[in-house]
């Protein structure tokens, strides 16, 4: 026993030590990061953000240098705050507040004190920097816009927020990230990869050379240049036409799904959201809740599509074989249905009509008849409605398009389930007539302008569309994303499209837009006039109708598809039709022959119309 005691104590001690070492070195992993915090300083080398070009290789966005004043709170020493504040032109209170915030964020990790100095401010500060321990200057690049248009398409960049830093370890506080538009959607391509330098530090926080002989250091990888599908000239022209109006224009190339122009009005100049002035400007735009300049009406505005939707019902009618091209429907200023002789009104035109003039004259009675037959073809209205819905959806309506735009809305195509709930089925039954406003694109159907444009592209292509997209090439390499390159077919047979196209052509030659013809260009289109309502002091009030127009041209080899939407522009051809016609001529010809038409649009403002509901006085609509 006396001999054993010492052995025992020694062995026990050994086991305890090995266990302790195991705990410290293997089991508890927190020490490794503690040691990194302690001893290694990480310096980032920011790459150039990629440039953005339009489809004709016109430079839209490039970079300009900017300088951030950074602070590492732990390394701060007493300094002349008065001098510091006067150099940087900020108040002492603000400085104290920012330093406090930085310390709360982390005493060791750099935070921005003053973002995005100009070159001059930087030059001056650089001289004095050695006086301010704990501060340093980090060079970054800011966006430099070569265009005053397309702010909604390009988006903007800004400092990454806290929650994103938590989610994506690539970003650290103060990094810039794309927040909207192409900048957001193609952030990964544009930003490149920042380079990392690891510097070893001693306990006094002095640099003592590169860590591990630069083994873990990386060089920055520059961002990729993007070519987007926008035609800057067409975009600029569209924005000019939409001045003093609210609404959106979406122009597509039907053969590819490329977005030629994406216009929302009112808009703003992209340079407003660069650098230090971004924050006050953004606030101003953000709080303009009446004109909503940050709201992309082309992508996010969900409106009843109105008459252009009739073309879809015509196609479904032909596909479901409930009507042929010859059959005529008579219209006595409307469509009468139900026991009590309810009426879906129509305007005056010749009667009876078959399909092609039906489209050209936008006859409500004709499409109500077709729609009702589609629904009633099946045993139950539920079955009929869902069949109808399946066809409608095949045109990209009623759901997100799955495109590469930062914003979007699904729109709406009602389901049978929806009407079951609405009419409390099976307690009460419902019939095709209960959903009759779907026939003319009012009622429950909602679509965004880009969905309308896409729907029209499917008609222009006689049966298929390419998902609309904004990206054309990355670093000069054309995209190969199958989502965009592969056509998506509708549920309608190819042969049914020709009469509908013919009807849309007649809209121009004989119908509602006959005064908008362009000499030598065969245009197909469809007007729309969408009723809309707002609430004023809690009272539902009708406003002047929205002016809607969809078009494509030329008829037999379509190069451009348009959906134009002008809020409170009254009937379809009045504003939207005129704008569409000018856009088509601009795109196909490059010049405008009808100067009087152009002047009419440029000189007519709808601001008065928009002021009406906010004036507090009674007003008249549809004047």
């Amino acid at each position: 026993m006396r001999k054993l005691l010492l052995y025992l104590i020694i062995i026990t001690t050994g086991i305890v030590f090995v266990a302790r070492l195991f705990y410290l070195q293997i089991y508890n992993t927190s020490y490794a990061s503690l040691s990194e915090d302690n001893a290694i300083k990480v310096i980032y080398d920011y790459p150039q953000r990629g440039a953005i070009y339009d489809r004709n290789a016109r430079l839209l966005v490039t970079n300009q240098p900017s300088y951030d004043v950074m602070v590492i709170p732990r390394e701060l020493k007493a300094f002349d705050t008065l001098e510091f504040c006067s150099i940087l032109n900020i108040s002492k209170d603000k400085l104290v507040k920012r330093l406090h915030k930085a310390r709360v964020y982390s005493p060791r990790v750099p935070s921005i004190v003053i973002p995005q100095l100009t070159k001059d401010e930087y030059a001056y500060l650089q001289e004095k920097m050695r006086k301010f321990d704990g501060f340093y200057i980090q060079k970054r690049s800011l966006r430099d816009y070569q265009t005053v248009n397309a702010a909604n398409v390009l988006g903007y960049i800004g400092e990454v927020n806290e929650s994103l830093i938590q989610k994506d370890p690539y970003y650290i506080s103060g990094d810039l990230i794309g927040i909207d538009g192409v900048e957001k959607q193609y952030e990964k391509e544009l930003r490149g990869v920042k380079g990392v330098k690891r510097i070893q530090k001693d306990r006094f926080n002095r640099d003592i050379g590169p860590y591990k002989n630069k083994k873990f250091d990386t060089l920055p990888v520059n961002g990729k240049d993007l070519t987007i599908t926008i035609d800057a000239r067409l975009q600029a022209y569209g924005q000019k036409l939409m001045e003093n109006k609210r609404g959106g224009i979406v122009a597509l190339e039907p053969s590819t799904g490329e977005i030629l122009a994406l216009i929302t009005a009112p808009s703003y100049k992209p340079e407003l959201l660069v650098g230090r002035k971004r924050s006050p400007n953004f606030t101003k735009l953000y709080y303009d809740t009446i004109a909503k300049p940050l709201f992309d009406r082309g992508l996010q505005g969900e409106y009843p599509p109105g008459s252009p939707f009739k073309t879809i019902n015509a196609l479904i009618g032909l596909q479901e074989n409930v009507i042929d091209l010859k059959e005529t429907v008579s219209c006595r200023m409307g469509y009468y249905y139900g026991k009590n002789g309810r009426k879906l009104g129509c305007h005056s035109h010749r009667s009876p009509l078959n399909m092609i003039p039906g489209i050209a004259n936008s006859c409500n009675a004709y499409f109500a008849t077709v729609y009702r037959r589609i629904i009633e073809k099946y045993d139950t209205p539920q079955e009929g409605l869902d069949t109808w819905r399946k066809h409608v959806q095949s045109f990209g309506l009623g759901n997100y398009l799955g495109n590469d735009l930062a914003a979007g809305r699904p729109g709406k195509v009602p389901t049978a389930e929806y009407y079951n709930r609405l009419y409390q089925y099976p307690k009460y039954k419902w019939y095709a007539t209960g959903t009759i406003s779907n026939s003319i694109g009012q009622g429950e159907v909602l679509a965004t302008p880009i969905q309308l444009a896409n729907m029209t592209a499917a008609i222009a292509n006689r049966g298929y569309y390419h998902t609309p997209h904004i990206i054309k090439a990355i670093d000069g390499m054309p995209i190969e994303n199958e989502n965009y390159t592969k056509p998506k077919y509708t549920t309608i047979n190819k042969e049914h499209f020709d009469p509908v196209v013919e009807g849309m052509h007649e809209v121009y030659t004989k119908g509602t837009a006959s005064f908008l013809q362009v000499e030598g260009i065969e245009i197909c289109g469809k007007t729309g006039t969408a009723e809309n309502f707002t609430k004023i002091d809690g009272v539902k009030t009708q406003l002047t109708d929205h002016s809607v127009f969809v078009a494509f041209a030329p008829k037999d080899d379509p190069k451009i598809v348009l959906a134009v939407f002008v809020e409170n522009g009254y009937w379809g051809a009045r504003y939207a039709g005129r704008i569409a016609s000018l856009m088509i001529e601009k795109h196909l010809r490059g010049t405008i022959s009808r100067k009087d038409l152009e002047d009419w649009i440029l000189t007519h403002s709808l601001e008065e119309e928009y002021a009406k509901p906010h004036s507090g006085e009674p007003f008249k609509i549809n004047q």
Binding site: K3, Y31, N38, Y211
Partner: protein
């Protein structure tokens, strides 16, 4: 005879010694070099100095082996007295370095007599216990043995160097091996346990808990007619002990001592102030993971975050740069050395050699246990070096002399005394 003596040297121990010293130097080099050109003449670098200390320790080894084994027994008393005088002399000629008057300084060389006093005390104790007339079972002889141990310790405490004085507890091991009653062990261990418990909990609760246990035992043993007075006396002593520990801790200890205990007991967390050393040392070791960051690649070591890293905290360099595998290898080397030395001590026919051998084991073990315990944050900060490893000439020489006298004695075991 010299020839056979060399052949009888225990080369396993020598090999372990060389491994520890060599590995130790490598870590000192890593912990102290700063990218300068390696030059043997650059005596401002601690790793160069240590290299010379090591080279000179080989000279010492040869001298020790050349001297007759009997010399150490015969002159044990004299060596002990000289050692005490050298400790006393510090009060007059001692030089104060970082707060402790523990040094004689001869030009560039500083010597720390307390490092040599351990070997001297071990010789003196061995001499006394191996005397035919000594019987450790007698209280009087026990007292004399305690005195031999206590005098150098008491001379070291006021330097102040309580850590080095604590090492003298190591002589409990040879005493116990030679027949000291187990009650000393039990009382000592219980006192230590009570000390910790009292610091962790309110002393009143500790006393009540112990009283409850005693009553439980008493009730169970009531048929054997227990002596109530003994139980009562034990409880009174324990109560007194607990409350006096509490009193001493709060009123006699200095704040820095209290802090050291509180940090290990987890009652206080202060990573920047008093707990900085321990915390940084744990970070360094903890960041080593399985295989470490590689020799001279330790970021904590290079950045100098761990204070005293080349001396008392050298093991944190091992942990950081060699990882779990390296650190356990060092622990294993120490265990092997200690076990080998016990084995050697047990094979001595001569009591002097055996007592001395056990003293060596005890001293090395206490250093090993306290140092690594401290560096890994298991026990409070007690600044004593890791044998053969830590930087320091006196320490290295002291341990070398301590160990190689025993190797000499062991090599000589076959000869008549």
């Amino acid at each position: 005879m010299a020839k056979s003596s060399v052949a009888a040297i225990d080369w396993i121990t020598v090999l372990l010694f060389l491994l520890l010293v060599g590995f130790g130097w490598g870590n000192i080099y890593s912990a102290s070099f700063e990218n300068e050109v390696f030059s043997f003449t650059d005596l401002t670098q601690v790793y160069i100095k240590q290299a010379y200390w090591i080279l000179f320790s080989f000279v010492i080894i040869i001298i020790i082996q050349a001297i007759e084994a009997k010399f150490y027994e015969r002159f044990a008393g004299l060596i002990y007295v000289i050692s005490l005088l050298s400790l006393l002399g510090l009060f007059v000629f001692g030089k104060t370095i970082s707060g402790a008057t523990s040094w004689y300084v001869f030009g560039p060389v500083g010597l720390q007599p307390s490092e040599f006093a351990k070997a001297a005390t071990a010789l003196a104790l061995a001499k006394f216990l191996s005397d035919m007339q000594t019987n450790i079972k007698y209280i009087g002889h026990q007292l004399r043995a305690f005195l031999i141990i206590a005098i150098p310790a008491l001379l070291i405490i006021p330097q102040p160097d309580p850590g080095s004085a604590l090492v003298y507890a190591a002589f409990f091991f040879p005493l116990y091996r030679e027949g000291l009653a187990a009650i000393y062990l039990i009382v000592g261990a219980s006192a230590a346990a009570l000390f910790i418990l009292t610091l962790l909990f309110n002393p009143l609760w500790v006393v009540l808990a112990i009283a409850a246990i005693m009553i439980f035992i008493l009730v169970r043993n009531r048929k054997q007619k227990p002596k109530y007075s003994r139980y009562l006396l034990t409880i009174i002593i324990i109560t007194g002990f607990c409350f006096s520990v509490n009193y001493i801790f709060n009123n006699v200890f200095e704040q820095r001592h209290r802090d050291r205990f509180n940090i290990v007991l987890g009652k206080e967390v202060d990573a920047k102030g008093i707990g900085y050393n321990t915390n940084q040392s744990q970070i360094a070791i903890g960041s080593g993971s399985w295989t470490g960051k590689g020799w001279k690649e330790g970021t904590q070591t290079k950045g100098g975050f761990v204070p005293e890293q080349h001396t008392d905290y050298i093991f944190s360099t091992v942990g950081e740069e060699w990882g779990f595998l390296g650190a356990t290898t060092i622990v294993t080397l120490f265990l092997l050395l200690l076990i080998r030395l016990i084995h050697l001590a047990e094979r001595q026919k001569n009591q002097f050699s055996r007592v001395y051998g056990y003293s060596v084991v005890g001293i090395l073990f206490i250093h090993f246990a306290i140092n690594i315990g401290m560096v890994t944050g298991l026990i409070p900060t007690i600044g004593i070096p890791l044998p053969f490893f830590s930087y320091g000439g006196s320490g290295l020489w002291g341990f070398t002399i301590l160990l190689f006298i025993f190797i000499k004695l062991d090599a000589n075991r076959v000869n008549e005394w």
